[in-house]
């Protein structure tokens, strides 16, 4: 099952500030929805644990999140690979940062999630709306984190 997503949002900070957040796995990973824990394998690889649940199928997914591209202050891209309960998923996401006409930064983002295995078979029809919802939560969290004074409210 492949899900593609993209969009853009504006934040009232400079590209450099936005980049510093987005290109740092230690800062970026905790914004993932249902985040549980993080362990840095090296400066570009974070082993992130998140809670995953579709209906009564619940568990913890482990994601190896790798910062694949760093083009300061315009682009950061991640790849991720994870597994949960006999299922697996691959994800790729990228953020392109452009100056907004009225100041601040526009974050243009895109991503792709491929899911494999039991979870798709058991709950395939539910995954797409849940993924959509979680992506929106991630974007909201990013936006909150990149808005001065907004991080606490985004995380709460």
């Amino acid at each position: 099952m492949g899900i593609k997503f993209d969009g853009s949002f504006a934040v009232p900070v400079s590209r450099e500030e936005a980049y510093a957040m987005l290109a740092d796995p230690e800062k970026f990973a905790p914004l993932l929805p249902t985040y549980k824990s993080l362990e840095m394998e090296d400066d570009k690889t974070a082993i992130v644990k998140v809670k995953v649940g579709v209906g009564k199928i619940r568990g913890t997914a482990t994601i190896a999140l790798v910062l694949e591209e760093e083009v300061p202050p315009t682009r950061a891209a991640y790849s991720g690979k994870g597994k949960i309960m006999g299922s697996a998923f691959n994800l790729a996401t990228a953020f392109n940062l452009v100056d907004a006409p009225d100041g601040g930064t526009t974050v243009e983002w895109e991503g792709e999630l491929d899911m494999f295995g039991k979870l798709v078979s058991l709950a395939g029809g539910l995954i797409r709306p849940i993924a959509k919802k979680d992506i929106q939560r991630l974007i909201d969290a990013l936006q909150g984190a990149l808005t001065p004074g907004g991080q606490e409210s985004a995380a709460s």
Binding site: M1, G2, G86, A88, F116, G117, K118, S121, L122
Partner: protein, 805 residues
């Protein structure tokens, strides 16, 4: 009194309904280990690493297995395919690469099934995902090759060319072109999933209790795979909860259980498949696409020639394939008198579950194609469906088909008459006219199908001339036990078809005793020495091969009993009758009260034999008979010869209404007429017809394996892959006719695989309902959403064209 032909209550049911059956998963033993198989979530991926350390550290885990270990302990299974596909390395577990979702990648044996599963989930497998090949036409491009050793995805190609096709097209009054038809992927859902218990003994033999349905074949693959002699395998089955062909290749899992037992020091290991595993990875039916079909017809709508290109998707491994590339040709012209055919047939692998013979294996795909062709032509030419069939049916039997198969007997027009009477054809014609006047979509469809039974394995040589298979055979052993009990052992390995009952009926008639006096051992056991390489239940053959073996064994035992009795009673053998006296079964001198009972006869041989003369030294009262059908090796160049001994037939009629708003097809009436020659047990035969009919209805309307573009099976639970239940089964009006087979001793034909009948019939009824909407039924599966989509986008203009004159 004769017992054959009576609806005798099934002997098996006594233990089954009392919960005293023994299915493989019922087997319990102290210290038994349970096997969990970790399966690939990916359809196509390279295996970079398998780390079992965390699993092995879990308390209760006895051992783990990885692909690399399996590769060290096993040899790849023999491949039936010729050419590059013969190089496919098929092991019971993936080693470097997975090629379908659900392929085993590791296994854990532990003291409980729960611990084994928990441990399995601790195994870390690192994969590198590869592009998936999910479509047979894409596969044939070879852009992504599944099996490096083969170097191509193409498994087999052959052209079946009979008659003078080009001449028939040149002389045709009408040529109908159909650009694409598709037979969908589905399977069987036996009540009991695959299971086995294996014990690798200290003597180096392997004990199996399993539910394999073709143990004669399984042991020929398992033994060399495990680097053993066949005699080192002890395979037995007991009660088996259905197979439908599906359990033919569970030997793959039997091997894993055996290897786990070996690694665990000989502890018994049980593996019991769960339903999602069964749907994901136990074997699916063949998916087939029919391209560029052209049909020549004369001015009366009689089919004179067909040329077509068929692509078969066999999934990720060939296993029993590419036999399906030839098996269909048992029914090349279907029930019709067409003499000129050219079928260009190709099979390829894809990243889907490997296929396995599934009720109606390979023939039903072809029969569905032929029925679709006939039905589409009828609609295009404006000939009523029943009339079209009557113009095309074969009527003289035995009938030699263009490819040399001999249809033994049949009467398709009589079946049509009976099915029409059962459903109330004339009434439905009137109701259909009224419905159409109201704008309702109501269709009436006819499907005629064949259940070719008793394979000539020589057809394997058409596919690969180097294969050492031809003919067919089955065994029965029979003895008069120490206390005078008749004991029969079968090689057929039944899986719920009532073999014990039917065999008892045959023996009872031969010995003139009650079936209650005959004990037929349940299941299959290599220790009985009642097997040959063909032994098993498949290809609709029990009534012919199984019962002929029983009948032959009976003749041999009777001859010995007669000789013994003649000696003891000082009578001529021809003066003796087999009958039942006051003390039970006996042999009696005709017209006298002088008799000898079975116990006495048995005792003479087994306990009290000093008085026997040398002339009776060969009498053992323990006989073995191998029945071999009269087959020859086919002409492999011409792809010509008799491929099957008997041809049972089914004729179904369905009335279906389609909801214009939702696309939901609803069966309003259904009739099914069966002809399996002489019926041994009408109740069992009716059960088989109802079962096959329901299976086919489920396949047509509910059951479909749907994959997404990256190889996820989206229908791997009963929520999504919906098997038919009593809630969906229509009231089937059942009838039968008997055209005895001249080729079996008892006139019977193999039966039970008529699962294709409803697929043809429902497609025909939908065609009838939707033709006026500009719709050609081009697929064998008709979920409401598919029918709805079709209603939104009529396809007749792009699917079919007709050229006349």
């Amino acid at each position: 009194m004769t017992w054959v032909g009576k609806s005798l209550r099934r002997k098996e049911d006594d233990r089954l309904i009392r919960g005293r059956g023994l299915f493989t998963d019922d087997e319990l033993a102290p210290g038994m280990l349970h096997l969990y198989i970790l399966r690939s979530p990916y359809a196509h991926a390279r295996i970079l690493d398998v780390d079992v350390s965390a699993a092995e550290a879990l308390p209760g885990v006895a051992c783990t297995l990885t692909g690399r270990e399996v590769a060290e302990l096993c040899d790849p299974y023999m491949q039936l395919a010729p050419g590059p596909a013969a190089n496919i390395r098929d092991l019971p577990m993936a080693v470097d690469k997975v090629v379908y979702q659900g392929e085993p990648v590791a296994a854990v044996a532990a003291t409980s099934a729960a611990i084994a599963m928990d441990a399995g989930l601790l195994i870390e497998v690192d994969y590198e995902m590869l592009d998936s090949v999910m479509d047979v036409e894409q596969s044939l491009q070879d852009d992504t090759v599944l099996h490096d050793a083969a170097g191509t995805n193409r498994v087999w190609h052959g052209v079946f060319d009979y008659g003078d096709v080009d001449k028939a097209f040149a002389e045709a009054a009408h040529v109908v072109r159909i650009d694409r038809l598709h037979f969908h992927r589905y399977s069987s859902t036996p009540l009991e999933n695959n299971a086995c218990v294996a014990e690798w003994t200290r003597q180096g033999t392997v004990e199996f209790l399993c539910n394999n349905s073709f143990p004669g074949f399984a042991q020929q693959l398992l033994a060399p795979g495990l680097r053993l002699r066949t005699d080192q395998l002890h395979i037995r089955t007991y009660d088996v909860g259905g197979s439908f062909g599906n359990k033919i290749w569970n030997y793959v899992y039997m091997a894993l259980a055996a290897l786990a037992s070996r690694k665990a020091g000989g502890q018994r290991v049980k593996w019991s498949e769960i339903r999602t595993e069964h749907l994901l990875a136990s074997g699916h039916g063949n998916e087939r696409t029919f391209l560029d079909t052209e049909v020549a017809l004369d001015a009366n709508g009689v089919l004179t020639a067909i040329r077509s290109r068929h692509l078969d998707d066999c999934g990720a491994y060939t296993r029993y394939e590419p036999l399906g590339c030839v098996i269909w040709s048992q029914v090349t012209p279907a029930t019709y008198g067409i003499r000129n055919l050219r079928i260009d047939f190709t099979q390829a692998v894809t990243n889907k579950c490997p296929v396995v013979p599934n009720r109606g294996y390979s023939r039903m795909q072809h029969l569905w194609f032929m029925e679709r062709v006939l039905d589409i032509c009828a609609h295009e030419l404006g000939i009523p469906a029943d009339e079209m069939r009557l113009r095309n049916y074969i009527r003289e039997f035995p009938y030699e088909t263009p490819n040399g198969c001999i249809y033994d007997s049949g009467n398709y027009p009589a079946m049509l008459d009976k099915a029409k009477a059962l459903i109330g054809w004339d009434d439905w014609q009137k109701k259909q006219a009224e419905a159409r006047a109201d704008g309702r979509l109501l269709g009436i469809g006819i499907g005629t199908t064949l259940d070719s039974g008793t394979n000539n394995f020589g057809q394997a040589q058409i596919m690969n001339p180097d294969l050492p298979f031809s003919g067919n055979s089955e065994v029965a052993t029979m003895k008069l036990d120490l206390e005078g009990q008749i004991v029969v052992c079968l090689g057929t390995g039944p899986s719920g078809q009532g073999h014990e009952t039917a065999a008892s009926q045959v023996v009872a008639d031969e010995l003139n005793i009650s079936p209650d006096s005959v004990y037929v051992r349940p299941g299959f056991d290599t220790a009985w020495n009642t097997f040959v390489g063909h032994s098993g239940t498949y290809a609709s053959q029990f009534a012919v091969t199984g019962l002929s073996a029983v009948h032959g064994a009976c003749q041999k035992l009777k001859a010995e009993m007669r000789r013994l009795a003649a000696f003891m009673l000082e009578a001529a053998e021809e003066d003796l009758d087999f009958c039942t006296g006051e003390e039970g079964p006996e042999l009696r001198i005709k017209g006298t009260d002088r008799a000898i009972n079975y116990w006495f006869l048995s005792n003479l041989v087994n306990n009290n034999n000093a008085m026997l003369p040398e002339s009776l030294a060969d009498v053992t009262l323990n006989v073995r008979h191998v029945y071999r059908p009269p087959f020859k090796v086919p002409d492999t160049e011409r792809k010509f010869g008799n491929l099957t001994l008997t041809y049972a037939a089914q004729l179904h009629i369905a009335v279906i209404e389609v909801d214009r708003e939702t696309g939901r097809p609803k069966i309003l009436a259904y009739s099914a007429v069966d002809d399996c020659g002489k019926v041994i047990n009408p109740k069992i035969a009716a059960g088989q017809v109802h079962g096959a009919t329901n299976h086919g209805i489920g396949a047509a309307l509910m059951e479909s394996f749907n994959y997404d573009e990256i190889g996820n099976l989206l229908t791997s639970t009963f929520s999504d892959y919906c098997p038919i239940t009593s809630m969906n089964i229509p009231d089937v009006q059942y009838g039968n006719i008997e055209t005895p087979s001249p080729f079996s001793y008892n006139g019977a034909k193999g039966m039970g695989e008529g699962g294709g009948g409803p697929l043809h019939t429902i497609a025909a009824a939908l065609q009838d309902a939707l033709f006026a909407e500009g719709i050609i039924i081009d697929d064998s599966h008709h979920s409401p959403s598919r029918v709805f989509d079709r209603l939104q986008e009529p396809n007749r203009d792009r699917r079919v064209s007709v050229r006349s004159g």
